[in-house]
Symmetry: C2
Subunit: 205 residues, 2 copies
């Protein structure tokens, strides 16, 4: 069964919230509390959890540890999925640190750059490779997702290398929209353009 | 004249690209080159620039410095707009560094946290204030945009403080959707949920 995108997003959010209760002995949570903490509709929460096979206990609510396992079984790969970060400047390093801090089934397995001062260096245990070796390393380390944090001016010239590297998902942080084939799962977010857009509309209200 | 959101986004992207040419003596660029570098349609580029009053030169293309000024006059506030970062953990510090690195008309004027070890400390010249003082500092420093980088579990309890602080735009990096009134310009992006969603769909292709 392939779940809708929004459901997967919410399951990821439930799990992130529930994670901090995992060392309690017998934690239970009501759907309305889960909904309130995440600013969601309780009916939707119950529907999502029903969908993955959890109906909860009328008196005590949902068993947190069981729910965590169920969500993991539903949305996680049985093995860790490997991520590569392309461009290890300030933004790339920030993303590396942030992602490495999270407990999840995704692991940064390699970083890539064109800068000779960076290639061959380790960033918190993660080796930096020359971008020209991307296809080889992606194959060797079984990397399926790439995070693009290079300066925007290089974005289009790198799209080709990315495509040939065999990555199946791309999270693009540059301000250049990447025109990739449909079989690549693409998500884009550009912080600076977003801030300038916000500034414009806040000023011109 | 209030421009469409997409136009503002593209103008911001043109400017970011053109910025690096600003020290050349007489730089000109063709619309088709601008389009190619940003992966856009040349017709759209010409239409956008026409909209802000620039039609370019048939032989040489667009004067880069004039174009930069025109875009600035169109989308920038005449004064610098101040931004506050709420939550100065790993993600908040990364965003602070990244935004401070960019040459733009937005400036981080204050950061906020609840952690006593952080409050009163400076982060690259920017003072960290207790979240309880947000309304006061937002008014004092004329902050219009808030970037939310607190742990997601605190997101809903902080929404109220945010609202009362008088910020007019919110960029939310937590995994909790903030239910704010329509007059607040809200943008949301959650890196971890996005990565988990990508991992799910890459795995289940």
């Amino acid at each position: 069964m392939k779940l809708p995108k929004r459901t997967v997003q919410r399951l990821s959010r439930y799990r992130r919230l529930l994670f901090k209760y995992r060392y309690l002995s017998e934690p239970y949570i009501y759907s309305h509390d889960l909904a309130r903490l995440l600013n969601l509709n309780p009916v939707q929460v119950r529907r999502d959890l029903m969908l993955i096979g959890s109906s909860g206990n009328h008196r005590k609510g949902y068993n947190v540890n069981e729910l965590n396992d169920l969500i993991a079984n539903t949305i996680d790969s049985s093995e860790v999925q490997n991520v590569g970060i392309v461009g290890i400047g300030r933004l790339g390093q920030a993303i590396l640190n942030y992602v490495s801090d999270q407990e999840m089934n995704l692991k940064v397995a390699a970083v890539f750059d064109i800068d000779n001062k960076k290639v061959g260096k380790e960033y918190g245990d993660i080796m930096c490779y020359d971008i020209s070796r991307m296809s080889e390393i992606v194959l060797e380390k079984n990397i399926s997702i790439g995070i693009i944090a290079i300066p925007s001016e290089f974005a289009t010239s790198i799209a080709d290398i990315l495509l040939r590297s065999g990555m199946e998902g791309i999270l693009n942080f540059t301000n250049v929209h990447l025109d990739l084939p449909k079989h690549i799962y693409l998500k884009e977010f550009d912080i600076i353009t977003t801030l300038e857009e916000m500034a414009y509309f806040v000023k011109n209200k």
